[in-house]
Symmetry: C2
Subunit: 340 residues, 2 copies
């Protein structure tokens, strides 16, 4: 899609006063390549032989000096958010285009995590040790962002497949840090403030209702109580913990395991199905209200298959619709035998 | 997708305590046919020659007695919500499977609006007078639902195309009435209670910011201030009005015009693009809190193109991402010349 308008315009965060919804408007993203939807062969910018097409990495595994990297993190060329013009930043806080509540500069950092030097499409093709390397550099990058006082919240997310919003086939994730707290995180904090035992209850309910998929050393993989799609699965930290970046090596390995087990099980049940996952950490900067939720937060990873598109009922009402009872989904996921 | 579980289980509305999100779980929907995704020829149940495959209509145009109908409303065979077993209903209120907050019977009426007797796929193939007929029977059905004390809110919605969640190609919409107020409507009521001039401001801002697409007699078509996708458009009633079903014939004709103008313009700009629309009416039963919003409500129709799938960032954060400035979208939509 290409229309005549100013694509160079910087990103803004806009507010819809009626729904109280926020929209990132990022005109420069309109120009991004799409080898999955257009079905045309492009020179894949993520392949190691095309490294010259992309900016220098901000993280790399084995190391920034190594010529033969296995994974790397680079700046996204078509970001949803941008740091913006330093000239418009005062005292470390982006002032720039902030005019009204309905139109403020979309501040932040948006990276791409290239998960393999080779043109492979699935995380299942990545050897486990290299996959742990991917999560290790994500952890390092997340640690960097957590020390940046202008970044309030950050996440890692994957769009796996066309139905999940992927535009390039080469296996990759994205990492984003913004200067606000997203609606989904605010909602969880609100719930937790009123019910400090919420995560404990979620874990015990999953156990009592036969929705546990797998017990890892530090985490539990469960089907949530009200899954949005068949086979939605969450990886939840067993103990309260705000952040992924403060976790030890054993935790990183558990995350690497889950993020190969889940796509393997889904592929077994629904070959070719798209899926997303994203990390739900606590905000980096706690307010007096949020503070009461911090000690009860269990950071978690939500993995959502994309089987049925969100249709008019879902988008018009805000309800989700699924067809598979959560207990059934847990049994079917377990029975694939992919969790070891 | 077919897995071994009890598909006969009635629908429930489930609550996710962490996100405070609600999910309709409707196992019987898993069996619904899908001629768009599976690309296999099915005996289309919506074609006039297959009328015997579907239940008797609850509304029909020209009339219930006519043999040669142009449009009709029938019960959805794979509903998201169901009236349920009358034996479990006490005093007109569904008690049935309501056990905990997290698992209650999904009460309601779910219809299909068959918009043509012929196997056509686009509303643009329907002659205007017949298309007014479709909206006329929708209005009649909505009037019926509004007098049912067990129905709190109802909507009409369309899934136009695979990306918008359509499963059958034959041109159709859906009509649903439920016993609760959806999150999107609650959010709008909340905003309106605090800002009674909200709709007036939305209309004047659209005018001042060059986001008006077309002026109808009773309505204005605008690009909203923070569109979720390029070319999102809303049809808003010029005067405060809670319900579509209380409107006169001239209004029904305006709605019919918009709902052909919008897909025509979108088709002109992005041939083959999917889209949804849905009606945002006020709840039928007003509470003491809601009451303050009722006199300021302007019922409206939201039309959302489905160009970019909702990806991990959108679903993980609750923000939307778009690439086209609203003013540009309004200009491009206007310039198609489809609005007359």
């Amino acid at each position: 899609m290409s229309f005549s308008f100013d694509h160079s315009q910087g990103p803004t965060l806009r507010h819809d006063p009626l729904s109280n919804r926020q929209v990132y408007l990022a005109p420069r993203r309109a120009a991004r390549p799409n080898d999955l939807v257009n079905y045309r062969k492009i020179d894949c910018p993520f392949c190691i032989e095309n490294s010259s097409l992309t900016p220098d990495p901000v993280q790399q595994w084995p190391s920034l000096e190594a010529l033969h990297w296995k994974s790397r993190i680079i700046a996204n060329r078509y970001p949803i958010v941008e740091v913006g013009d330093p000239a418009t930043e005062i005292g470390g806080v982006a002032q720039s285009a902030m005019t009204t509540q309905s139109n403020m500069h979309a501040y932040g950092v948006h990276d791409v995590v290239i998960e393999s030097p080779d043109h492979i499409e699935s995380v299942l093709q990545i050897p486990f040790d290299d996959w742990v390397g991917v999560w290790t550099i994500c952890q390092q990058r997340m640690k960097q962002l957590s020390t940046d006082s202008r970044i309030t919240w950050a996440t890692i997310f994957k769009n796996g497949g066309v139905q999940a919003g992927a535009s390039l086939a080469h296996v990759h994730s994205q990492l984003i840090g913004i200067n606000c707290i997203p609606p989904t995180i605010s909602a969880k904090c609100d719930q937790l403030i009123h019910r400090p035992a919420l995560f404990r209850n979620i874990l015990s309910d999953a156990n009592n209702q036969d929705r546990v998929i797998h017990n890892y050393k530090n985490f539990v993989a469960i089907v949530p109580p009200a899954p949005r799609q068949p086979f939605e699965a969450w990886l939840i930290s067993k103990e309260p913990c705000c952040f992924f970046h403060t976790e030890n090596q054993s935790c990183v390995e558990d995350v690497a395991r889950f993020t190969q087990h889940f796509p393997a099980a889904l592929e077994h049940l629904l070959p070719g199905a798209s899926y997303n996952w994203w990390l739900h950490q606590f905000p980096f900067i706690s307010s007096s209200t949020l503070h009461r939720a911090a000690e009860h937060w269990h950071w978690h990873l939500e993995a959502l298959p994309r089987i049925t598109p969100l249709a008019g009922f879902e988008l018009g009402t805000g309800y989700h619709v699924s067809t598979m009872p959560p207990k059934t989904a847990a049994r079917l996921l377990r029975d694939t035998g992919c969790w070891k």
